[in-house]
């Protein structure tokens, strides 16, 4: 029992409630939301420290022992993702202070932002599958508000589609929970794992597993990503950064959790099917990233490629691959947030999203240019940077396990990432200057947020060895679900 675990959920929730009362006082809103984010960052560091020192931490809500009550579980994977969320969330918040505009701030932007974060934290920490659904809804409803806030034509159009696809996937989630409850009669994930192992993962449970895979793939943009490029192009860049960094990763986390803990007994489903979906995602994402000459589309398809790549790691499911998945997931959350923040700065500097109309920004904004360049290398996985360690672990285990085609597609998708991002860099920063020089309002604050993430990303790459010591602890639990089950059920 450890009451600290509820704080990552509780702090943003209380912050959001407090922010609702500060509607007209924008300075106070900023202060309170920043204080909330900082407090949460500190709590998350503490949780990671505790998990490292004392193993998996659990919290029985209301003192009801699992499987009867709701339990919050922080194994190393959840703790690391919660910490990364806190970092990325803080950076996006600071960026939003200077870029989001007063009319949005007056209309509950910050409360929605905090509600979204509390949903994300809840999804990472919960140990109960229906509670996972509720946390998903918390973050989704907040994301509906954020995607529609502002009410431009494009936002309205895209948020209708985003809303519809998520209602359908949530409905399927409830159906999947209903079937699972009928089959094994419990909702606690650790208890589920035990019951599924006892019942043997036959035809019925396989169908349920595939239904869960469909639901989480819709959320994560794994193969079923057709809603993603349009929807993520609608809101302002600060919101896109949160979406690109966090929302798809929550779906991926759910896939990792369910298919390393509960449905682990039939590799045909949990490995082959995810592998095929990963291959299709990487190929289609690469085609999209290479095809467009519109920066926001290119960035959105890069989110898709990364989802495919992480799913490739999940499908290999050796100890090395899962370590790689955890590492790459953390890297990608930070790098994707940074990518969208820099994309926002580029769009603001050039006054457009179209590559043909940009040019010559490097003279006026050298720092943005070189940060973007290094970020592109990090996303590709050039050695001293943070994308390398995860990528090499996943690809290496792909080859070791004989998944040559998948590993080759993974490598090829890196080239698509490189080509598409360097295309953005070349068009935006090189060449002749086009259009009038633009001064970006609040540039310094936005740069501070981006630079903070950038430094962290580089440090994560240089300190891979140190990060790996945490990551391997997370991978160990993923490889041996008994550790998780024992920690939760106390047997």
């Amino acid at each position: 029992m450890n009451n600290l675990l509820v704080l990552p959920l509780l702090i943003p929730l209380c912050t959001a409630v407090a922010l609702i009362f500060l509607k007209e006082k924008i300075a106070a809103q900023r202060l309170v939301s920043a204080a909330g984010a900082l407090a949460n960052l500190a709590v998350c560091c503490l949780i990671v420290h505790q998990v490292r020192e004392r193993g998996i931490q659990t919290l029985h809500m209301g003192g009801w022992a699992p499987p009867y009550g709701i339990v919050f579980v922080a194994d190393m994977l959840a703790a690391l993702l919660v910490l990364t969320t806190a970092v990325a969330g803080l950076a996006c918040l600071v960026y939003a202070f200077r870029s989001i505009g007063e009319s949005r701030e007056r209309n509950y932007f910050y409360p929605s932002f905090q509600f979204l974060l509390s949903g994300v934290y809840g999804s990472f920490l919960t140990g109960d599958i229906f509670n996972l659904f509720v946390c998903f809804e918390v973050l989704l409803i907040a994301s509906y508000a954020l995607i529609a806030l502002g009410g431009t034509k494009r936002q309205l159009r895209e948020s209708l589609k985003y809303l519809l696809i998520n209602i359908v996937s949530s409905t399927l989630f409830v159906a999947a929970v209903a079937y699972l409850y009928a089959a094994v009669g419990t909702l606690n994930m650790a208890h589920l794992a035990e019951r599924v192992a006892e019942a043997g993962q036959g035809g019925m449970l396989n169908v349920i597993a595939v239904l869960f895979l469909i639901v989480f793939s819709l959320k994560a943009g794994l193969f079923l990503f057709y809603w993603l490029p349009g929807s993520y192009a609608a809101p302002p860049y600060a919101v896109r950064a949160v979406f690109g960094a966090l929302l798809t990763k929550v779906g991926l986390y759910a896939i990792i959790r369910i298919f390393t803990l509960v449905f682990v007994h039939d590799p045909l489903i949990s490995h082959s099917l995810i592998g095929w979906m990963a291959a299709a995602t990487m190929i289609l994402g690469s085609i999209g990233a290479v095809a467009y000459s519109d920066m926001s589309r290119i960035l959105n398809y890069n989110v898709v490629i990364a989802v495919g790549f992480i799913a490739f790691g999940i499908s290999i499911a050796t100890s090395d691959a899962l370590n790689g998945v955890v590492f790459y997931l953390m890297h990608d959350m930070i790098a994707k947030a940074l990518l969208f923040l820099l994309g926002g700065l580029i769009a603001a500097a050039a006054g457009t999203d179209r590559l043909q109309e940009m040019g010559g920004l490097i003279r006026q904004y050298p720092l943005i240019g070189w940060m973007f360049f290094v970020l592109a290398l990090a996303l590709v996985g050039v050695p001293p940077l943070s994308g390398f360690a995860g990528k090499v672990m996943i690809i290496r285990s792909g080859f070791a396990e004989g998944a040559y085609a998948l590993a080759a597609i993974g490598l090829a998708s890196s080239f698509a990432v490189l080509y598409s991002l360097i295309k953005v860099f070349r068009h935006a920063f090189w060449g002749i200057e086009r259009g009038p020089k633009r001064e970006i309002a609040g540039l310094r604050g936005q740069m501070a947020a981006a630079a903070g993430l950038f430094v962290l990303m580089v440090a994560m790459g240089l300190g891979s060895e140190w990060v790996y010591s945490f990551v391997s602890q997370a991978g160990e639990v993923l490889m041996q679900p008994e550790i998780y089950i024992r920690a939760v059920l106390g047997r």
Binding site: E137, I141, V174, A178, Y181, A182
Partner: protein, 112 residues
């Protein structure tokens, strides 16, 4: 009894999916509410429809029906209420701003 309920749920699901695939935005929203109805009934049905008292301790009955799915359904109902209300308002706002409720005309175009 479960068989009959399954049939009803199947019909609701089919009608919901059919409505979601239609052109008009209002039909789509109706389709989503039919879908949520069907999964709530599904939750109820999958927990078993055996006879028993309502889950109240004051009833002092020997057997009560499973209370857990009822709590799940209640949670899911309020969530889908909230989302549906938002969907309606969003559709209304989109109709005001975009001047159409035909989803075919809600495609993005290159010049935006």
């Amino acid at each position: 009894m479960e068989g009959l309920m399954s049939l009803c749920i199947g019909i609701l699901f089919a009608v919901g999916v059919y409505l979601i695939l239609s052109k008009s935005l209002l039909r789509i929203i109706l389709g989503t509410s039919l879908l949520t109805h069907s999964v709530h009934l599904l939750l109820m049905t999958m927990a078993g429809l055996k006879t028993g008292a309502a889950p109240l301790l004051g009833e002092k009955a020997k057997a009560v029906v499973d209370p857990l799915p009822q709590a799940l359904i209640l949670t899911s109902i309020v969530i889908s209420f909230g989302v549906t209300a938002f969907f309606f308002v969003l559709a209304y706002r989109a109709y005001q701003t975009l001047g159409t409720d035909d989803v075919e005309e809600l495609r993005g175009d290159e010049d935006e």
